[in-house]
Every structure is written in structure tokens, then in C-alpha cells.
């Protein structure tokens, strides 16, 4: 009943609004004046009228109130800025550590943001991307040309495109010869399905006719330099003149690495088989553009049934549609040539590392700011006594942090601009910071906000919580002596640093292991020369040769004989794939069972050139006619797999009919060390070989290469000569790991450096705090070593504690990473102890820099301190 007697007041909402805008020392009085207007009106005209008057008064006052608000806020802001600036100047060293540390952390995370963004945006820009699917068969991403008829009969498919498998014809422009790089053939529908930016030519016409060719900008520059490529001729394999009908921007964010694209209609001519498109030719990646609202599951079943109906004796196969945008990160395919793949776990790993490095930088900031809290204590208490509430202080300190972070951000952007090219080289991606792009600005802003909040909120909460009375009573030692918060942060920092060091050591160890592990064959001083032109037995070459009355493999024979005339050439063998990445497979029929076998097609010299060891039986021989194509060598792994004792003359059905095994080869790594050694076989069939492996003497490498080139130019003048060393080719199998190792090394150095930077600042501050204590101890007879110990022991304890957290994390993740390798190092104590020792050493060195200075100072100065 009491409530009824209180006269109704002015509307609450307006009252709160007025209160919000009245940022003024006289806010209370002014609020009362608004209420007086209400009260007077109420007395004269009643409450309704009063409420209206109050309202009107508020609305009319609004411009003035807002002006007032801005004026007072600006005044406070100016004060905050002044204080912040004075603080920066007062502690130049610590401010520098803060800004530089944050700048490094931010720069590092921005660079990684760029890389992650590049990875994530691959294939995202295609406007029809959500309707595009790749049709896959089993774990192969490539299909037969004969499926084209089926695809055409489906109304759900708006358009489809097939790409040819990757081939390496020789390109001739005028008189100059080039190796082809990523040349594909594709249907002209490709430009209806995918979007590429045409610089010259138009997408509708570009691939409409046979013998038309579209180049990317960089390929056009490679072939034609500064000339206009449009309408010019590029001759493939000295036989097929293609006309350049278009140039597109380099499709960097497209998962297929193509640089030149010929029209699909040219394929039957180039292959010399008019009915090529109807034949069962494998290895054609196929993309479908489906009509909107297609039910994928239903459509897939229908499509699979229709295709299987055409397969006849091959039997039904499993098909699936992979959404176009999932291709880049797909890891489950055995065969998708020419497709660039991302690694999702690497993206996650790097993002995590970026956040961790940034956190380390933030921790430095937090530690240094809170450690200095006692020097801000007087200011805080005066502000509090003058009426500042916690919110004001929070705003002030957050603002101060933002200022530092802003300075760091500017510095970081300079760093990013400076290091972007080298970072791009390191990652092997064409990175480019588009400074005006929306997401880049959003990225910068979010990094800024993250940093400012993480490093600002802690100190702001801490500082604003200090009690004014306690603070006014003198310098409170409390925040320095007992600071579990800072201990936790330092421990966290060193846990991260130690974790990263362990990671780096494990990666380095494994990479080193990959590089040096015995592969079971020689890889030094072996040249790999890709066979081209006359030496490559394409249908045209064979036809031409038959017309000239030559026989199969004759040029190769001449090439080999001429090579061996030089004593620096120790041996020559022709192989079908580099021994490090053998994937060719056949299916054998052993006692009625189908057995997939990996096959190396080569000649009897293979064993000698590669230095392989025979375990049992005999090598293939040039002199035994049936050794060609019919007799096989198998590796040890194949013996239990085939389930027969091969030397007893048991036969089986292979590619060329009834075959038998004549020898067993000691296991060797014919694939990368990610994979276990699988059953494989070696057969003499040099018709399908496309690389010459040439063993040269180690003493005259340059002479040997010159000889190979001379012979090549004699025998095969119409093709450009190129070679690689086999150990380089094998090294490339681990490019991802080597790159990972390099990048991780940089981050680790950064993390360790940043941690030490923070430790340096912290120890400097604590040494100053303890100046008096040190002076008195020295006067009382303490030795310098004792003082150093006194100052270092806390930090050492934290670093050691950090190991407790770092070790299990590092063990878990390193073990997980190593599981990706079939052949790997064992995870011992080595890297762990080394990393911890290193962290401890570096931190002690950092701290002792300060503590030695403090310990050797003249105690008289110290005691006079203050």
C-alpha cells in the first residue's frame, strides 16, 4: 500500500537515457533539473502532461546532451592518452619489448592467416561450385572415355567435362623446343562449368575446334615471351600444330594444376585413333555440372547402374560423386594425377601454432604490465579516490593496451610486407596480401581485437581490482612477491616453447631419417633422363619407325650403346617410373585368384644399375628370349602374398600370358617411406619405359652429363634434353616434410625468442625491485653466485614445471604425426631432454644477464637506491 502513496515519477527509460548521457561532474544535479521540470508540470497539469513534458525536454535536449557527452568523454580520453604516452616513455625498454614482441607475434599470425586463407579459398571462388561434382571410380579419381555416352543420356547433368590424363609431349614454337608443363586436354564445356579469367580470346570459342590451345598467363610468357601468343602455333611432338585461341590468368586457386589446355576434340587425332572417345581409355578425370535441386543419392544410384550396364566383362564398379569443394582436402584417393591437394591437418596445425605464438606475445605483455602494477598503484588509487569506478579503470587500461597493440600492429604490417616474399617461397604457395580485400581487413581487425582483449583484459581486471586504501599506505609488495597468475603464465609460455622445440626436433629427426635411410638400392650418381621425341614410343613414333623399316626399340638401343662408349657411364637401364614413386599396377591371376601387383617395367640391366640384391634364383638375362615379358623377378614381400614358391616353376597368368618367376629380389623402397613395402615384380619390357636411369662415375659428373647430352643431341635432336638426379627426385617425395621442418623451425625460433624477451623484461624488473635486498645481502657477505642463484631459481622452477605440461602434449602429437610414416624414428627421451635442457639454458642465460648485473653492482649504490 505504500507504493500507492509515492507519486509516479518520470518514465524510467528516459531517466536512464538521461543518466547515460550526463557524463558530468554535476550529473546528479542536472538529472534533478530534468526531474524538476517533471515535478512542476505535474503540479500544474497532472502526471500525463508531466510525462509528456519530460519526454519533450529529453528529445529537445538530446543534441546538447550528446555534445556534452562527447566533450566529457574526450576530456577523459585525452587524459588517458597522456598517461599512456607518459608510461610508454617512462619505461622505454619494457615498452619496446611489448611493442616488438607483439609486433612479431601479430606479424607471424597474419602471415599464417594469409597462408590458411589461401588454402581454404582454393576452389571456393567458382560460382557454380556447389553444383559441380567429380565422378570417381573406387579410389581412383579418373574414369574411362567410354562413359561419355552414358553421361550424355542423363537429363540431370547440365554439362560435363573430361580432362585427359597428363602427358608430356614436346612443344615447338618456331625453332625453339620446350618440355610441356601440365598440359591437359579438356572438353569445351569446361568454361561453362568452371570460370577462368580470360585475358585474350573468349571462353565460348576457345576450345570449340580441334587443334585449339588455351594458355595460362605464365605459360604464354614462357613460350612466347613478350610476343602476342594469340593465333600463334605451338607444335606438339613435332607433328600436331595447335593454334593459341585464348590466354587466361594463372588459376592459382584451382585444384588442377594446368598451364596449357588443348581441345578434347584433338585427342583422337593426336592419339592416332579416330574412335578414341568410344574406347575404354582410362585416366580421365570427369566433372559433372548438375542441375539445381538434383537429389544426389538417387541420381548417383541411377548413374552407377547405367555405367555398370556398359562395363560388360569388367564387372560392376563402385562409383561416387565427390562435391567439387571437397576435392582439395580429400586424402583418400590412390590416384588423382595433376591434382593439387591441401592438407587439413597442416592447416589446423599452423593455425594452432599461430595462435600459440600470438599467445606467447600476449603473455609477455600481461606479465610485464602486471609486474609493473605497483608503479601504477598510486595513480589507480588517486583515480579511485576521485570517483573512478572499476569500469572507468577497465576502459582506461584496455585503451592503453589497444594503443600499444595498435603500434605493434603497424609495425607488424611493415614486417608482413617485408617478409611476405620469403614466406611465400617457404610455403611454396603464391601468397599475396591484398591490402584492400574485405577479409584481409577483417583478419587484421580480428587479430587486433584478439590481441588487445587477451593482453588487455587480464591486466585491466587485475589493476582495477587493487584496493586504493592498501595501495595508498605505501608501495605494496604483494603483486610482485606472490603472483600465481604470472607464474601460471610463464609456465604456460615455456610449456608452449618447449612443446614447439620438441616438435621441431622430432620433425627434423624424421626428415633426416627419411633422407638417409637405406632404401635398398643406390640413389647416388644416377641420372634420370625423361625419354622424349624419338626415344619415346608414342603411336606416331612407332608408326613412323615402321614406315622407315626400323624395329621396335631401335633408337633406344642406339642411345644406350652410344652412352656406354664413355667410361664415365657405368650403366644404363630404361624404367617406367622413378624407383621412388612406382605405382604402375597389373592384376595377376594366380591359381584362379586375382592378385594386384605393382610392376616395374624395365630391362635386365635394372638390377645392376640400381644395385639391387638377389636373394634367390637368377637375374633376368638378355640372352634368354622368354625372359622378356614373361619371366618375372619379385621382391621378398611378394612370396607370402602370392602364396606359392615361385622358383618351382609354377605358372600364373600375367599381362603377356603364362608367366613364371625366376628370382627373388631383396626388399627395397620403391615408394616413399610413408608407405610400407608392398609386393612388387620386375619385368623386362622396355616398350613402356619412359625414363633412362644412367649410373655415372662419381669422379667426372660434369663430363658424364655432357656426354649424355651429346648423345641425346645426336640420336634425338628434335627433343629438348633434361635430366634430374635420382636422389633429388627422391628428396622431392619428402618436400612436404622438409617444408614443414623449415616452417616449424622459424616458428620455434620465434616462440623461444618471444618467451625469452618476456623473461628478460620480467627479470629486469624483478632485479630492480630487489635492488635493496641484494645490496643488504651483499653487505652481509653474500657472494655474487648466491645472488645469481637467488634471482634465477624462481625462473628455473617455472621452466622445469613447464616441461610437465609440454612433454605429454608433445609426445601425443609427435607420435600421431609419426604414425603417418611406415618407416619412422622411434620416439625416445632424446628430443624431450634436449628441448627441456635447451629451454632451461636459454632462460637461465636470459635471466642471468640481469641477475649478474644486479649481483656485481656496488652494494652502496643499491642501498642508497630510492
Amino acid at each position: 500500500m505504500i507504493a500507492a502513496r509515492i507519486p509516479p515519477g518520470p518514465p524510467g527509460v528516459i531517466r536512464r537515457l538521461i543518466r547515460f548521457f550526463l557524463r558530468h561532474e554535476d550529473a546528479g544535479g542536472r538529472e534533478a533539473e530534468f526531474e524538476e521540470i517533471f515535478a512542476e508540470e505535474a503540479r500544474a497539469q497532472g502526471f500525463n502532461s508531466a510525462r509528456r513534458a519530460y519526454w519533450i525536454q529529453f528529445v529537445l535536449s538530446l543534441p546538447g546532451l550528446i555534445m556534452n557527452f562527447i566533450m566529457w568523454e574526450a576530456a577523459m580520453l585525452k587524459n588517458y592518452l597522456t598517461i599512456a604516452w607518459r608510461n610508454i616513455l617512462k619505461n622505454k625498454g619494457i615498452s619496446f619489448i611489448n611493442v616488438a614482441g607483439l609486433a612479431l607475434g601479430i606479424a607471424c599470425s597474419l602471415l599464417i592467416f594469409l597462408w590458411v586463407d589461401g588454402e581454404m579459398s582454393t576452389d571456393r571462388a567458382q560460382p557454380k561450385g556447389d553444383r559441380i561434382y567429380r565422378l570417381e571410380e573406387g579410389d581412383w579419381a579418373e574414369l574411362q572415355t567410354s562413359y561419355r555416352k552414358v553421361l550424355e543420356s542423363f537429363p540431370e547433368i547440365e554439362k560435363y567435362v573430361q580432362f585427359s590424363s597428363w602427358e608430356k609431349p614436346i612443344l615447338r614454337v618456331g625453332e625453339r623446343l620446350f618440355d610441356s608443363m601440365n598440359l591437359v586436354f579438356a572438353d569445351d564445356t569446361i568454361f561453362d562449368i568452371f570460370e577462368f579469367t580470360f585475358i585474350r580470346g573468349n571462353p565460348e570459342q576457345a576450345l570449340a575446334d580441334p587443334y585449339s590451345l588455351v594458355l595460362t598467363r605464365s605459360e604464354a610468357r614462357r613460350l612466347f615471351g613478350s610476343e602476342d601468343p594469340m593465333g600463334q602455333t605451338v607444335t606438339l611432338d613435332n607433328a600436331f600444330p595447335f593454334i593459341v585461341t585464348g590466354v587466361v590468368e594463372d588459376p592459382d586457386d584451382f585444384h588442377l594444376k594446368w598451364r596449357a589446355m588443348g581441345s578434347f576434340k584433338s585427342l583422337p587425332v593426336v592419339k592416332g585413333r579416330p574412335r578414341f572417345l568410344d574406347e575404354k581409355n582410362d585416366n580421365f578425370p570427369t566433372y559433372l555440372l548438375l542441375r539445381p535441386q538434383t537429389n544426389i543419392a538417387v541420381f548417383m544410384d541411377k548413374l552407377a547402374a547405367a555405367i555398370n550396364a556398359t562395363r560388360g566383362s569388367d564387372g560392376p564398379a563402385q562409383f561416387r560423386l565427390r562435391p567439387f569443394r571437397d576435392i582439395y582436402f580429400a586424402r583418400d584417393l590412390v590416384r588423382d594425377n595433376g591434382v593439387k591437394h591441401g592438407n587439413m591437418s597442416l592447416v589446423v596445425l599452423f593455425s594452432a601454432v599461430a595462435v600459440l605464438v600470438l599467445l606467447i606475445a600476449c603473455v609477455n605483455f600481461i606479465n610485464l604490465v602486471t609486474a609493473r602494477s605497483s608503479s601504477r598503484a598510486k595513480e589507480i588509487s588517486i583515480r579511485k579516490a576521485a570517483g573512478a569506478v572499476r569500469k572507468n579503470l577497465l576502459v582506461q587500461f584496455l585503451g592503453e593496451t589497444s594503443l600499444t597493440v595498435l603500434a605493434a600492429l603497424v609495425l607488424a604490417l611493415v614486417l608482413v610486407a617485408a617478409f611476405l616474399p620469403s614466406f611465400a617461397k617457404l610455403t611454396g604457395e603464391p601468397l599475396d596480401a591484398d591490402w584492400t580485400a574485405g577479409k584481409w581487413i577483417v583478419g587484421i581487425l580480428s587479430v587486433f581485437l584478439f590481441t588487445a582483449l587477451v593482453s588487455g583484459l587480464g591486466p585491466a581486471l587485475y589493476l582495477s581490482s587493487l584496493e586504493p586504501v592498501a595501495l595508498m599506505k605505501g608501495r605494496s609488495r604483494r603483486p610482485v612477491r606472490r603472483a600465481p597468475f604470472r607464474t601460471v603464465l610463464t609456465v604456460f609460455q615455456f610449456a608452449v616453447a618447449t612443446f614447439l622445440i620438441i616438435g621441431a626436433l622430432v620433425v627434423l629427426g624424421q626428415v633426416n631419417y627419411l633422407k638417409t635411410r637405406g632404401l635398398g638400392y643406390d640413389r647416388e650418381q644416377i641420372l634420370l633422363v625423361p625419354l622424349k621425341g624419338e626415344l619415346k614410343e608414342t603411336p606416331q613414333v612407332l608408326r613412323a619407325r615402321i614406315q622407315e623399316g626400323k624395329t621396335f626399340g631401335e633408337t633406344k638401343g642406339v642411345f644406350k650403346r652410344r652412352l656406354l662408349q664413355n667410361p664415365d657411364i657405368r650403366g644404363v637401364t630404361f624404367i617406367c617410373q622413378s624407383p621412388g614413386e612406382l605405382t604402375n599396377a597389373n592384376t595377376w591371376n594366380v591359381r584362379g585368384e586375382r592378385r594386384p601387383m605393382i610392376i616395374m617395367q624395365t630391362d635386365p640391366d635394372f638390377m645392376d644399375v640400381m644395385g639391387l640384391k638377389l636373394v634367390d634364383g637368377r637375374n633376368l638375362s638378355w640372352d634368354i628370349r622368354s625372359d622378356m615379358a614373361l619371366n618375372y623377378l619379385v621382391n621378398e614381400e611378394a612370396v607370402p602374398f602370392l602364396g606359392l614358391n615361385p622358383l618351382f616353376g609354377e605358372t600364373f597368368q600375367a599381362n603377356f600370358g603364362e608367366s613364371r618367376i625366376v628370382g627373388i629380389v631383396k626388399n627395397f623402397h620403391f615408394q616413399s617411406l610413408h608407405q610400407k613395402i608392398e609386393p612388387m615384380a620386375i619385368v623386362w619390357f622396355d616398350g613402356w619405359t619412359d625414363t633412362a636411369a644412367i649410373k655415372i662415375s662419381g669422379t667426372n659428373i660434369a663430363g658424364a652429363i655432357a656426354h649424355v647430352q651429346n648423345v641425346w643431341n645426336e640420336v634425338n635432336p628434335q627433343a629438348p634434353f633434361s635430366y634430374t638426379f635420382m636422389n633429388e627426385t627422391i628428396g622431392k617425395l619428402y618436400a612436404a616434410e622438409i617444408r614443414l621442418a623449415r616452417i616449424i623451425n622459424i616458428f620455434v625460433s620465434l616462440a623461444v625468442f618471444l618467451s625469452c624477451l618476456g623473461l628478460f623484461g620480467l627479470s629486469a624488473y624483478i632485479a630492480v625491485q630487489k635492488t635493496k635486498e641484494i645490496g643488504i645481502r651483499k653487505v652481509l657477505g653474500a657472494k655474487a653466485s648466491g645472488i645469481v642463484f637467488l634471482l634465477s631459481k624462481d625462473f628455473s622452477k617455472r621452466v622445469l614445471l613447464a616441461n610437465l605440461f609440454a612433454w605429454p602434449m608433445a609426445y601425443f602429437l609427435a607420435e600421431k604425426w609419426l604414425q603417418g610414416f611406415a618407416y619412422r624414428i622411434r620416439l625416445g627421451f632424446g628430443p624431450f631432454l634436449l628441448a627441456s635442457g635447451f629451454a632451461l639454458l636459454v632462460s637461465l642465460a636470459t635471466v642471468s644477464f640481469q641477475s649478474v648485473k644486479a649481483a656485481t653492482a656496488n652494494p652502496v649504490d643499491a642501498i642508497r637506491h630510492e
Partner: protein
């Protein structure tokens, strides 16, 4: 001499005219009457603050009154520099008849 805006002049004159009884409501009533249109409270606060900062007027606080919910009134008065007697000051150059 600091420059005054037109609004500041009007408020300054109103404070002078009210002779020590100048507070928000009374100033508002005074200028509204003198200029012939309604001023809002918000509109007089900004010039008041600026005049205070320029040193022409000073604040004092009344005893808390029950009518204002126990809050004190903020009273404004001219400072020595703000007085029209002082030669060369802005107020003197305007005739009192305007107010």
C-alpha cells in the same frame, strides 16, 4: 580575451541577469523569455560548461533540498573576469537593453 559563441553570450548574460540565482531551470526560463523561444536543458549545458572552462562563470553548490530528492542545486555566478564592470570584456560591448 577569449571568443564567445552567440549561445555562450546569451547564457553569460542570463547568468549575469539572474544575479546569483542562476541554476539550470532558472537560466533556461530566463533565456527562453529573453529570446522568445523554448530552450532545452541540454542546449544550455554545453555553453555553461564552456563558459565555466573559460573562466567567466563559476559553480557553487546549494544545500541539498528535499524537493530535489536530496540533491544539491548547482548555482552559477559570474567570476571577476566575467563581470561587465571589467573593461574590455565581452559583456560590456552589448547593451543590457537586449536582455
Amino acid at each position: 580575451m577569449k571568443l564567445l559563441s552567440r549561445n555562450e553570450e546569451i547564457i553569460l548574460l542570463a547568468v549575469w541577469r539572474l544575479e546569483g540565482d542562476a541554476f539550470g531551470i532558472s537560466i533556461r526560463d530566463q533565456v527562453s523569455e529573453a529570446t522568445g523561444y523554448q530552450w532545452s536543458l541540454g542546449a544550455i549545458y554545453v555553453p555553461l560548461d564552456k563558459l565555466t572552462r573559460k573562466g567567466y562563470i563559476a559553480k557553487s553548490y546549494s544545500r541539498p533540498t528535499a524537493r530535489r530528492g536530496g540533491r544539491s542545486k548547482v548555482l552559477y555566478d559570474l567570476t571577476a573576469t566575467g563581470r561587465p564592470r571589467d573593461p574590455g570584456l565581452p559583456v560590456e560591448r552589448h547593451s543590457r537593453a537586449r536582455i
